[in-house]
């Protein structure tokens, strides 16, 4: 698996101050930076830049065994045409391939992972691989006369990031071996957060938080009822959870440890530092990547944990609306070596730091690439240093011609 988190970032505390938010309780949200999508970046550029190193490392024979491409997203720019078709073309894959896209808010990445795993487990095409790409971005736009971001909702601006996680799912798991059948899922209809119109996020932050906390407990209880001997405090060396912001994970961990494991407060803090904090590093620097967030938490755990011996990670995904799942998998030293070889931490360090002036200019420019754009040419001179930060070929959006998106490699 690999993570791609763009070319530009902003310091979220600086942004929150810039917006005049109440900073007295800001620290307990545990946020540091977020990736900001530039106009010439979209969910395709994020996804391709995440998947390219994985696909390039395959032999031609192995590449031809990619028989499914699943895109997991809530940031698509077309209601019909799937982003998997763009990934398929830009990564030059075999045409005997299923291409589709999957949406369920922040649960999409794990829904895709389980769909991929079930395809592999079904053995209907032995040896076939699935390319899973979870990719999401948020673009905030300033509009004249528009209603301002107010109250707690304003915390969604500092927390909403952009990024993608790509993974190859096959019967040869080198990085993360899913515990087959060990899944507790829990979902019900709730109107917490949503994207009810193109480029518009709406919702009730409180309700979403409370629903996440409820689901975390219920999904784990279901996991426990299906997995004999499973125990929240001892079965998992690490826990990786969907991370809208670090503070929410801390709250959910505290809640389930108190209710399910009957742990004492001092022990809960120690447990959080030991078992949960390795999962937070990437998400704290990228922001909420929605469908990619749980997979990013897993990648961060693999990067930062101790895997000298094989260890089990307990994973929790929550997507508004809502559906959630608690599942688990095993990581070995080889898995950690493979994730570390991708150099994800260095990639995050190389991102261009946007000034508040650049950031505000971006918000005024974002309508150029809003949903439904028929024709547009991207301006490569906008925050141009960002385009070469990675020192390797990076895909960017070049133009939109009659709704078709055309891309270019820049090195």
């Amino acid at each position: 698996m690999n993570v791609y988190a763009g070319t530009a970032r902003v310091d979220v505390e600086a942004l929150a101050r810039h917006r005049g938010l109440d900073m007295t309780r800001f620290a307990n949200l545990l946020m540091k930076e977020k990736t900001v999508a530039l106009p010439y970046e979209d969910p395709i550029t994020y996804g391709v830049n995440a998947a390219k190193p994985l696909v390039d490392a395959l032999t031609p024979e192995e590449r031809d065994r990619i028989e499914v491409v699943i895109t997991c997203t809530e940031s698509a720019f077309d209601f019909g045409k799937s982003m998997s078709t763009y990934f398929h073309k830009l990564l030059d894959l075999n045409r005997n391939c299923r291409l589709f896209e999957l949406k369920n808010a922040c649960y999409s990445g794990v829904a895709g992972l389980q769909t991929a795993a079930n395809f592999v487990l079904s053995s209907v095409s032995p040896g076939a691989k699935v390319l899973l790409i979870a990719t999401d971005i948020s673009r905030f736009m300033t509009e004249e006369g528009g209603e301002g971001l107010t109250d707690d909702w304003s915390f969604f601006e500092p927390s909403s990031g952009a990024g993608a996680v790509a993974a190859l799912v096959s019967d040869q798991p080198h990085v993360f071996r899913i515990d087959v059948g060990a899944s507790g899922y829990y979902g019900y209809e709730v109107m917490d957060t949503c994207r009810p119109a193109p480029d518009k996020e709406a919702g009730d932050a409180d309700l979403s938080l409370l629903s996440y906390l409820d689901c975390c407990e219920k999904a784990f209880m279901e996991y426990q009822s299906r997995v004999e001997g499973a125990d929240l405090a001892h079965t998992f060396t690490y826990l990786a959870m969907h991370t809208p912001f670090g503070g929410m994970v801390k709250g959910a961990h505290r809640n389930i440890m108190r209710k399910v494991a009957k742990a004492r407060p001092a022990d809960i803090d120690e447990d959080f530092d030991r078992r949960v904090s390795p999962s937070l590093h990437f998400n704290q620097r990228v922001g909420n990547t929605m469908g990619a967030s749980t997979l990013m938490a897993i990648a961060s755990t693999i990067q930062h944990g101790d895997f000298d011996e094989p260890r089990r990670i307990g994973c929790f995904s929550y997507g508004s609306g809502c559906c959630s799942e608690f599942f688990s998998g095993i990581v070995t030293r080889e898995g950690q070596q493979r994730v570390r070889a991708q150099g994800i931490g260095d990639q995050l360090n190389r991102r261009h730091s946007l000034s508040m002036k650049e950031y505000d200019e971006l918000l005024a420019t974002n309508h150029l690439v809003k949903f439904g754009t028929r024709n547009a040419s991207m301006d490569p001179s906008f925050v141009s240093p960002a385009r070469r930060v990675h020192g390797r070929e990076t895909l960017f959006l070049k133009e939109i011609k009659e709704f078709h998106r055309e891309y270019e490699w820049v090195s």
Partner: protein
């Protein structure tokens, strides 16, 4: 435990989570949001109160309460066994 006792409990937990409240007088008509509690703080106060009262209910159901008094009434009904 009646509604007033539960309100006292909510206020006690609010003071623990929000040290800035100090000795400020608080009433049922105060909303936690207006007192400076963000989403995380509010959920924490609700969780602590449910735990103290030994009530097991979906946290999402507490969203209906718009101030501490309404929250106390909702939890009192739940404690008494009548659905809110």
């Amino acid at each position: 435990m009646n509604k007033d006792d539960i309100l006292e409990l909510i206020i006690k937990h609010a003071r623990e989570v929000l040290p800035s409240l100090d000795d400020r007088a608080l009433a049922g008509t105060d909303s936690l949001r207006d007192l400076g509690a963000n989403s995380m703080d509010r959920s924490e106060i609700v969780m602590m109160t449910l735990e103290t009262l030994d009530i097991d209910m979906p946290l999402a159901e507490t969203i209906k309460a718009s101030n501490m008094g309404e929250l106390a009434a909702l939890l009192a009904d739940r404690k008494a066994g009548t659905p809110a």
